[in-house]
Structures are given as C-alpha cells and as structure tokens.
C-alpha cells in the first residue's frame, strides 16, 4: 500500500502545482458571480438558476480535470522516461496503476471539495440554508462517478498512446453515457436485429454514470435519497472502478515500457 500512496502523492502534488485546477475554479467563480449580479425582475431571492449554472460548471470542470489529469499520467511517464527508474524500483506495475488511480481520484476529490464549498456558500447566500447532507450525497456520488471516469481514462491511456486522442474518446464516451445512457434500451426498441441486441447489450454493460448526477435533486431542493440506494450506487461504481483497473493492469502487464 505504501508504494501505491507514494505514487498517488506525486499525482496529487502535480494537480495542485499545475494551473489547470486554479484556472477552472476561477472561471467558475467569476461566471457564477457575474450571473449572481444580474438583476432579474428586482428579485434577489431567485436561487435555482444560479445553483444550476454553478453545478453545470462544477461538472464540466471536474470532468475536464479528471480526464485531462488521468490521460496524461502514463503517457507522460513514458515520454519523459520516468517510468524506467520507477519500474526499476521494487514497484510492481499493478501498484503503479493503482497509485495513479488513487492519485487522480483523490486529486479530483480535493478539487470537488473546493467546488462544492463554493457552491454551498453561493446557494446559502441566496437561500439562507445549508442542506449539508444533500450536498454531501451529491458530492460523494459525483466523486465516485469521477472514480469510474478516472479508471476508464487510465485504461484508455494504455490503449491509446496519445493523451489527446484518449481524452477526446473519453469525453465522447462519458458525454454519451450521461446524455443517452439511461435511454439506450428505448433507442434499441426502434432498431432491427442484430443492432438491437448490440445496443441492448451496451445498455446493460456500460457504467450508468447518470445515477450519480444528483444536480436536479439539489437544485430543486428535493428530499434526501434513501442511504441504502446511495450505498448500492457506490458499490456499483466500485465494481466498475475495479473492472477498469483490472483491465488496465492486464493491458499494462506485458506492455514494453521503453
């Protein structure tokens, strides 16, 4: 475990020493503050549109951070040749994969924490309430969704050599799942065989990231989700995370490092 956390530590340092997070955070804050300053029919209590815009920016930023940070990890190690001294030490390839995963995931978690604190402050400034448990549910679900994204991107970075192509493919897949994943089975009904079977199989195979999008619930102040469903969703995410990481270990096992 110490090796995994040593590798993760370097990834976390990389995130907070690069400008990406700060740029995205500042853009989010600026856009939200500008939107908050707009006078809408002299009613300062209007809050939900602001929550929606803020959460949309948080989601976009978190996906950008997760995908771009993860996509460059292994390719950068290869390109800079730091993979060689690393693997020449008593560090196994699975440890490296898991270390990179935990590093990216924890780094995304830290970024999310900052974003959600800002979101909470912004919402509280308008609504004068702190539904902390609701925000906690949303943030934890969001974080686990990012776990799936990070694991998927890590696997992609071993399959596609160029970080840019991997990032683009991951963005398309993740965007596709978030937008139509829930409806793939309905889409399949209008198709002919064998396409129908393929789309149906896809529906049951893909990780349903839309489970983790609780934005509508917290924007519109819906009651808390029962914790048992949250736990089940987190287990579902964990299963996919491990599946992708095992896939990554399998691909990386025999891959030449130089």
């Amino acid at each position: 475990m110490k090796n995994i956390f040593a590798v993760a530590g370097v990834v976390i340092k990389e995130l907070y020493r690069r400008k990406d997070f700060y740029v995205l955070f500042i853009i989010t804050v600026l856009i939200c503050l500008v939107m908050a300053s707009v006078n809408i029919f002299n009613d300062p209590k209007i809050a939900r549109y602001l929550k929606e815009i803020c959460l949309l920016l948080v989601w976009i930023s978190s996906l950008v951070i997760a995908i771009t940070t993860t996509a460059r990890q292994i390719p950068a190690e290869r390109e800079n040749r730091t993979l060689l001294p690393l693997l020449a030490k008593p560090l196994t390839r699975p440890q490296l994969i898991f270390g990179k995963f935990f590093g990216c995931w924890f780094a995304c978690g830290l970024a999310l924490l900052c974003f959600y604190i800002f979101f909470g402050a912004l919402a509280a400034a308008r609504e004068h309430q702190w539904p902390l448990l609701d925000y906690f549910q949303a943030a934890v679900m969001h974080w686990f969704m990012l776990g799936i994204v990070v694991a998927m991107t890590l696997l992609g970075s071993l399959v596609f050599a160029a970080p840019s192509s991997n990032s683009t493919i991951c963005f398309v897949i993740i965007g596709g799942i978030l937008f139509v994943g829930r409806h793939l089975d309905q889409v399949a009904t209008s198709m002919h065989e064998p396409l129908r079977a393929i789309v149906n199989a896809l529906y049951f195979t893909i990780p349903h990231l839309e489970f983790y999008d609780l934005r509508d619930l917290i924007i519109h102040n819906w009651p808390l989700i029962e914790w048992k469903y949250i736990v089940l969703a987190l287990l579902y995410a964990t299963a996919y995370i491990f599946a992708f990481l095992l896939g990554a270990c399998l691909v990386f096992r025999r891959k030449p490092v130089n």
């Binding site: 110490k2 090796n3 040593a6 530590g9 370097v10 340092k13 990389e14 020493r17 690069r18 800079n80 040749r81 730091t82 060689l84 001294p85 690393l86 693997l87 020449a88 030490k89 008593p90 560090l91 196994t92 025999r254 030449p256 490092v257 130089n258």
Partner: protein, 250 residues
Amino acid sequence: MTAILQTQKLRVEYRSREMRQGIKVALLGLDLEVRAGEVFGFLGPNGAGKTTTMNVLLGFVPPTSGAASLFGIDVRQPIARQRIGYLPELTYYYKFLTAEELLRFYAKIFGLARGETDKRIAELLKLVELEHAAKRPIKSYSKGMQQRVGLAQALINNPDLLILDEPTSGLDPLGRMKVREIIQRLKHDGKTVFFSSHELGEVETVCDRVAIIHQGELKAIGGVHEITGKHASLEKAFLEIIGFNSSTAP
C-alpha cells in the same frame, strides 16, 4: 568474487513494428557475469543490444529464452530490484517536484524510514553537489543538474549494484567529469557499477572490466588491458572487434 549480475544464454526477440520485417532478434544467447565491487563497462555500437540487456535485467522486457538474475534472484521478481539503482538515459524527472521531493518519493518506494530518508537525501545532494538547488523545482535545472538528480535517485536506497545507461550522454565536459568522479567515488565505496557508454576514453579511465556486444552477440569480455591488448587504445580495439574497417568506411 561472487557474480551479482548474471545472464545465461539470454535471447530476446521482438516483433518488428516495421511492415514485413517479422521477428527481430535483439539478443542472441548472451552470457554475462558482473562481479561484486567492479566497475563494468558495457560497450557496443547503436542497436547492438545494450539497452535491451539492461531492460531485461530491470524486468522491463521478458526474455524469450535464457535466464537473467540479480543477486541470484530472477529479474522478474520485484524483490530483485531492492538492492539496485538505475539511471536511464535522458530522463526528464517530474518537473513540478523539487530534487528533495523527488528523492523522498523514491525513498518511500524503497520503504526507507523518515529519519533515514532525511539523512540519505542530505548525503546524496552533497554527493551530486545539488544542496543549493534542493528546494528548487526540477524544471529550473540544467541538463547536467537533471542528470545528477538522476544519479542521486539511483543511489537513494544505497544500492549494491548500479546500472547506468549512458550516464554522460548529452553532458558538457564539466558535467561528464563530475559524473565520472561520482562513479569513481562509488567504486571506492565498494559499489558495483554496470554501465553502458559510447565514450570509450571514459570507459578506459573508470572501468575494471568491459564487454563488447555487437548485433546481439557478445564479442569480447575481460579486463580493460586484456581487451586493449596490442592496440594503441580501447577505441581501436573496439573498432576491430566489431569488424569496422576504416578503409571501407563511408
């Protein structure tokens, strides 16, 4: 003296990426033995198989047949790498870290205790003359400084065997001299150093024994004076061994 690095009938083949080239043989039954406490020079022209040999020794590339061991342990076992230090050629270390943070990271992988790590980092930074730049990010380092950081990371676990892949490549004369000094100091401390280089003069200066490899085959192995033999220099001997004829050269 005991052999701490050994290869037996080591053969490595790989599928060539170029079209219709099929299988390419990188190593052809290499038998090598490096003894404890010696500085061993591993020579050969480009594409001779030096880096492939090192990659097998470090577990990066699995051998097609034959065996390789470090301290008697099969190189495929991660534990075999516990007592080695490795400096690859032309590495650009994590530029967002400082030299101190980089060394601390590698120390963690070796499981060094915090106190021991602090002491070791201070020693190594002094050895590679980077104390003044220890807290500066690596991105601000010159090429020579980066190579010295690389050398420090290779020594973080106080290894018994050092594998250096062209350690002076791309360095200016001053940088080369500093690296050479460090190797000699390590030799003085009783460390075993196995390194590849194109700088034959340098090899002649620091090595006890050398091996010359060409087209995946071991062509010669022995003491520097043995190999040089009747030739005026190691360079001349090297050229003759690899079959280079200056009159037919372009």
